[in-house]
């Protein structure tokens, strides 16, 4: 299917949806009236037509941009990944433009004075505009989703769309996830065994060392030794589940092969592994339905007897994982788009609230800074303490020091919230065939959409209701 032909079709579908939604919102109270006005604004002022055109042209030219040398599977992955990324990035910027632009325009033209003297507008203005932005985003997202689906569907033979392959759920072993409880237990044991060595360490320093040692123990197997990895998958394993491993044999053995013995519940198998390359081992059918189970890995050393590889290391959280078929590619794509919409909604709320007290350029810059920080993890690590903090007597602390500490705590809090944002970035995962679980979608809606979005919206409404909208500022 020629993707260039689909561009005008997607645009026309968006136009039809936009006009239809303006008509549908003809009834209802203040909330629906304000949403309808925003829809009319973004449609008649060209934001939707131009934004939609940019979005669909970007998706439409993807098949031409991707290298011809890519095989069918790589093309599919690239299409999904770039398509999702382009859709999310475009919609994020458009939601910022629509939210900031619309509210700042009300203030700039003085229309805000007419709006706030109407009864019920104080509470309906921001939520109404927010709903309008969401509707506009949905109107653009629906054709983009169908467009992407058609492109993905026609990118392989037989068409993926008809085949609709399974997506997978990724399960990581519990031993790679070190809990605080484990750290405390390990620390207590070490303190008993070696009170001279561990007892001299500061409390936090001891915890850091304990965590590092547990991780090292779980993540490396020396030659001839084995380690058990425990998995939990409440839904139960299904046919087609595989163990996926990506070992690290060290830089000097980068081109060597090694042997690994894999012990399932009642079966054993040996596989040849390569440094940094992912290998998959199909789980025996006898494990189907298992919810809690153990997989033992024994490192047998290099294939070539003359070479000695001391240990295998599992570097990164995806070094050992189970991939269990669950759901389909299309459902994963839908859920991923829903999470993208939640992120756009959050930006819209942030933009609307920022523009209640900032002008268009500053409000846009403010939200853009957030986007850059959140998408690129720009702040991550900036507030992390590199050294073990020295315990200070609070009675001797200067007020300025207390203030700096409070600011650092605030910064740390923001960083932790930004990690929430990154957690719900799912485009690359869907491209890799991973499922987006319903729990993640609900989590994204609850955390980013309802909790943070709701709080910011309430703040915006409060600021708007307490602000003067007179000529005073123009004087």
């Amino acid at each position: 299917m020629n993707s260039l032909l689909l561009i005008p079709l997607a645009w026309l579908l968006m136009a039809a949806c936009a006009v239809l939604s303006i008509r549908v919102l003809h009834r209802g109270g203040a909330l629906s009236a304000i949403s309808r006005t925003l829809m009319a604004e973004v449609w008649r002022r060209g934001i939707l037509p131009v934004g939609g055109a940019i979005l669909y042209v970007g998706i439409g030219i993807l098949p031409f941009v991707l290298s011809e040398s890519l095989d069918s599977e790589s093309r599919l992955i690239s299409l999904l990944e770039y398509g999702q990324a382009w859709t999310t990035a475009t919609l994020l910027l458009l939601s910022l433009l629509m939210s900031c632009g619309s509210f700042c325009d009300e203030v700039l033209t003085g229309r805000i004075r007419w709006l706030v003297v109407r009864p019920g507008t104080t509470w309906a203005l921001l939520p109404g505009k927010f709903l309008g932005v969401i509707l506009a985003l949905l109107v653009m997202l629906l054709p983009a989703f169908l467009f992407l689906l058609l492109l993905v569907g026609s990118s392989s033979d037989p068409p993926v769309l008809i085949q609709n392959p399974d997506a997978v759920v990724v399960v990581v072993p519990e031993t790679l996830q070190v809990t605080d409880q484990e750290v405390e237990t390990y620390l207590a044991l070490q303190m008993l065994e070696d009170p001279q060595g561990w007892g001299l360490l500061a409390e936090e320093q001891g915890r850091q060392r304990a965590r590092a040692q547990i991780e090292r123990l779980a993540r490396s197997i020396s030659v001839g030794n084995s380690h058990d990895y425990w998995f939990q998958f409440p839904a139960g394993l299904v046919k087609g589940s595989v163990l996926s491993i990506r070992p690290s044999l060290g830089r000097v053995h980068r081109s060597e092969r090694a042997r690994l013995r894999v012990q399932f519940e009642d079966e054993m198998t040996e596989v040849v592994i390569r440094n940094g390359e992912r290998s998959t081992i199909t789980l025996p059918e006898s494990m189907n339905g298992s919810r809690e189970f153990r997989i033992g890995l024994q490192f047998l050393g290099a294939v070539d007897d003359e070479i000695r590889i001391p240990s295998v290391l599992w570097s990164g959280n995806d070094a050992i994982e189970l991939r269990v078929p669950d759901g389909t590619l299309v459902s994963a794509l839908v859920k991923s788009q829903m999470l993208a919409l939640v992120r756009c909604a959050f930006v819209a709320v942030l933009g609307l609230t920022a523009s209640t007290f900032l002008g268009m350029p500053v409000a846009t810059l403010f939200v853009l800074c957030f986007l850059v920080a959140a998408a690129g993890g720009g702040f991550t690590g900036a507030f992390e303490t590199k050294e073990t903090p020295v315990f200070a007597d609070p009675r001797g602390q200067e007020p300025s020091r207390v203030l700096i500490d409070a600011l650092a705590e605030g910064g740390d809090f923001i960083v932790r919230q930004l990690s929430d944002w990154n957690q719900y970035s799912t485009g690359a995962r869907v491209a890799a065939g991973e499922n987006v679980s319903l729990a993640e979608v609900i989590g994204g809606f609850a955390t980013i959409g309802l909790l943070w979005g709701g709080l910011i919206m309430l703040l915006g409404i409060y600021i708007c209701s307490r602000q003067e909208h007179g000529l005073g500022r123009d004087r």
Partner: protein, 308 residues
């Protein structure tokens, strides 16, 4: 017996800069009482505090001191808001909405029931003479047409108090005459109207009472006839006398010791001539792309039964 719908006592407003330093004292103790069913004019030069007073009454800005009551409640109260119609000084309406859509938005924000909305929109469009142009975008309207749609939106929820900031701004003489007729009609239906305007002749013709603001305080207030009355002058308007009669009358007045300040032959005003010309053109069937003749006040204003 009338009751006050707007009470203002010792109203002060100081505008401050970003650092909360006092920048300008816009109002320095304004006292006003506006009764139900009267047309009240707020006059004064630029910067005298008219707009500030109106914005405080609407709850757009907060007073620094003094007491303000609108319909017995503080300004900005949601209940009283729905009983106020407001025409801003500038026509700031959405340029991408059509006239009909704008009235629809205003009706929905004014909590007009769905069942009445369509009827009210159509009758108001007819009243302001924009039925033919109702589906054109407001951005394409002339300034006068935008003013007309502004007046319609201020009335759509049948308010008790109507605040008009420069209502005749941008209107042609025909429109000005219509607005004055509508204001008188609204007063007859029991509405209270507060007008802020620079066009003193218009205010003089429609207002029952006026106050003149200067320097943030009320300098003069009272019924229009009272504050304009001069006990040292008399104006006669008669049919045109012959020169002989004029000489005799002048001579007699001088004998009585009266000064004749001005005697001039009567002439039409430019407004009268303009209105006559437009009326004639309409009678001859000439059409216009702008506002049409318009009509009288719709029945729903003043709480009359809409079905009738």
């Amino acid at each position: 017996m009338t009751s006050a719908v707007i009470r203002v006592k010792g109203l002060r407003k100081v505008f401050r800069d970003f650092w909360f330093r006092a920048r300008v004292e816009a109002l320095a103790g304004v006292d006003l009482t506006i009764d139900a069913g009267e047309v009240y004019g707020l006059l004064g030069p630029n910067g005298s505090g008219k707009s500030t007073t109106i914005q405080i009454l609407l709850g757009l800005i907060f007073p620094t001191g003094g007491e303000v009551e609108v319909l017995g409640t503080p300004p900005g109260n949601p209940e009283s808001k729905n009983r106020i119609g407001y025409l801003p000084e500038d026509s700031v309406f959405y340029p991408f909405l059509s006239g009909r859509e704008m009235l629809d938005l205003s009706a929905r924000l004014g909590r007009v029931p769905d069942a009445d909305r369509h009827h009210r929109i159509e009758t108001l469009l007819q009243m302001v003479g924009l039925s033919e142009a109702a589906d054109r975008e407001i951005g394409d309207y002339s300034k006068g047409m935008q003013r007309r749609i502004g007046i319609a939106q201020a009335l759509i929820h049948d308010p008790d108090i109507i605040i008009l900031d420069e209502p005749t701004n941008g209107l042609d003489p025909l429109g000005v005459r219509q607005v004055k007729d509508w204001i008188r009609g609204l007063r007859d239906r029991g509405k209270t109207i507060l007008i802020s305007s620079h066009l003193l002749a218009d205010v003089e013709q429609v207002c029952d009472r006026v106050s003149i603001l200067y320097g943030g305080t009320v300098q003069a207030e009272g019924a229009v006839e009272e504050i304009l009355e001069r006990d040292d002058r008399t104006l006669w308007i008669t049919s045109r006398p012959s020169d002989e009669v004029l000489d005799v009358a002048s001579e007699r007045l001088r004998q009585e010791g009266l000064d004749i300040i001005s005697v001039k032959p009567g002439s039409k005003s430019l407004e009268e001539k303009f209105l006559e010309t437009v009326e004639e053109a309409r009678e001859q069937g000439a059409t216009t792309a702008g506002a049409e003749a318009g009509g009288g006040l719709p029945a729903f204003l003043g709480g009359r039964d809409e079905a009738n």
